[in-house]
Amino acid sequence: MQLDSFQLIDRIVDLNIDGKTITVEAQVPQHHTIFEGHFPGFPIMPGVLLTEAMAQSSGWLLLGVMKFERMPFLAMVKEAKMRGFVSPGQLLTIEAKIEHEGSGFAVTSAKGRVGSELKCSADLTFRHIPFPDPALRVHMDAMAHKIGFPLQMIAP
């Protein structure tokens, strides 16, 4: 995780375009200023960041399914549940799947685990639109390489 740049996902472990599922890993940093306030003496990952991590996982899945032709934006969070504490230094594994592909929107479900222990889950809705700016497309390409997105899977 690069919390300062809001990069919550480190690597894509598995992407199944046909099955519309993704598995990613996110290494929670051992040290970060966030933990100074959240909380003194008992540092844990904020629930909003766990939710964002689930959203970014879903976002990469949607980007793959849509072949990087459209950009998903988080629109709705439902049933977000923080089921257990996630501590500095822990490795978070997030699985997401597409529950529904609508016209201009998609719904995913996501779960985050540390080891076999379920830590968080949520149902997420995204609006998706053509990339609104070429710079964003360039950035997402660079990020895709950085996190090991299997671009060959979406090659024409």
Partner: protein, 97 residues
């Protein structure tokens, strides 16, 4: 079996917390019921699932924006129900349906 309108009205009532008895076939989802675009995503999701279709919201929106259609054609509920019936019929008539 309830009508398409009844199913839509129930979905809207439950999704947007609008009293069911205030929703009529003449209601305009946006102008009369005050449903915003985000709530309409929720409604579209529920309608897609309930009817096994994919409402072409982007196409409809584009047609309205281009002046080729009015919002009434798609968002007055009796008209929305008719569009949904058309989509269901098209799906059932397609090969492999």
């Amino acid at each position: 079996m309830s009508s398409t309108f009844d199913q839509i009205a129930t979905i809207i009532a439950e999704t947007c917390d609008i009293p069911r008895d205030t929703i009529t076939p003449e209601s305009h989802a946006i102008d009369d019921l005050g449903i915003d675009s985000l709530d309409f995503l929720d409604i579209a999701f529920a309608i897609d699932k309930a009817f096994g279709i994919k409402m072409p919201l982007e196409k409809w929106t584009q047609e309205v924006n281009d002046g080729k259609a009015t919002t009434e054609q798609y968002f007055v509920l009796k008209n929305l129900a008719a569009r949904i019936d058309e989509l269901v019929a098209a799906k059932n008539a397609s090969p492999g349906a």
